[in-house]
């Protein structure tokens, strides 16, 4: 077995990944290649997807079985990623990791965007491949639409359709994590610049930029 040099810029982590389909095995291989200690937990045939480039451990069992997670070394895990194809299983598994084993960073793949938003609101770390896919498609379409201009789009600027929980809030109170900031709003086809007191309506698009507002 060839030794992989540990990336000098990151600490070596003990990572457990539940679910070994394309997403789980891809993450497992990537983390393993970076020199992290990786354990994969899954039941049955999908495990073979891990394949080449993976030199971690594989535990055969259900990721919502406390004994299986204990066997995988959950007590000393720095990172847990629940990436099975079942949203509910991932959600339960991550809550077990946090509540039973005290894992600091536990992340659930949730494919249903609405369920993902709900659990993110409950303080659970989530990743939604569906939203990522939608955003990627929209970005591609957007690039097509603007391509006659001949320039390159700035990915630091975006317009986001206001989610329901933003409706009724003023621009200044939107829960946007830094370094991103609201810089304006598009409401009923009209573009408004930064007005802190402006209330977000249904169907409005909030203009976002990374960096300082001027």
């Amino acid at each position: 077995m060839a030794l992989t040099p540990v990336d000098p810029y990151i600490c070596r982590m003990y990572a457990i990944i539940a679910g070994c389909g394309r997403l789980g095995s891809g993450v497992a291989r990537a983390l393993s290649a970076k020199g992290h200690d990786v354990v994969v937990v899954d039941v049955g045939a999908e495990r073979r997807l891990v394949g080449e480039g993976f030199d971690g451990l594989i535990v055969d069992g259900s990721p919502i079985d406390e004994d299986v997670l204990k066997l995988a070394g959950m007590k000393k895990a720095d990172l847990f990623i629940a990436a099975t194809s079942d949203d509910k299983r991932n959600i339960m598994s991550v809550q077990m990791a946090v509540t039973v084993f005290g894992v600091r960073k536990a992340l659930a793949r949730v494919s249903d965007p609405e369920l993902e938003r709900f659990y993110r609101g409950q303080g659970i770390l989530t990743v939604c491949p569906t939203l990522t896919g939608i955003n990627q498609i929209l970005a591609t379409i957007q690039e097509e639409a603007f391509s006659p201009l001949g320039g390159t789009l700035d990915p630091n600027v975006a317009a986001m359709i206001a989610p329901p929980e933003w409706v009724g809030l003023t621009l200044s109170r939107l829960p946007i994590p830094s370094p991103r900031k609201a810089i304006g709003i598009v409401s009923k086809g009209r573009v408004h610049g930064w007005e802190p007191g402006r209330v977000v309506g249904q169907g409005d698009s909030v203009l976002l930029a990374r960096g300082e507002r001027t």
């Binding site: 949203d87 509910k88 299983r89 959600i91 339960m92 809550q95 369920l115 409950q122």
Partner: protein, 224 residues
Amino acid sequence: MKSKRYALVIGGGKIGYFLARDLDREGYRVSVMDRDPARCRLISDELDMIVYSGDGTDLDDMRAAGTKDADFVIAVTGDDEENLVACQIAKKSFGVGMTIARVSDPRNAALFERLGVDETICTTGMAIQMVENALPARGMRLLSVIGKSAAEINEFVIERDSPADGVAVSALGLPAACVLLAVMRGDEVTFPRGDTVIRFGDRVFGLAKVETVPAFRAALTGGR
């Protein structure tokens, strides 16, 4: 007039079906939600209630079922994780006061309660206990637990070598925190008094505090 209390049952399997039927008879407004449209049709044909074809872990489906007006959400699908998510959504997203989850894995009962589910019902544990109770253990059989294991109703079988055989109730030396409820002799039920004499072959029913059960049992069967 106060409107009927609304119970939403997630999962229309055997447990969901009979639970919904009983809650309906007890005067609740009941709806059932199940993923399988064929199962939904069957339930709505047989029970006179609204049945939603949907997923208890889908926020849109839960909204459509009027979850925000539910007094109880009872998740009894065969999937523990599905029951957990349905209850968490009901509780945190729709503000339901009482959520109950069925768990198949007994180890999940305590975990789910830590994760915000109000009550868990462990069907596996209950089935195991009922089977154990059906097998008389050294002359005693547990019939019912009162409160969260505060007291028990037990059945005792009086054997020939029992210290109670041929002894009047008043002379049994029973501990204080117990009461003899009934004596079955053949098919006859008698309600024992101080002068009732216990005989070999009797089945004696008694209520006792959990900590008193061993002494109660020793007085009746001699076992510990």
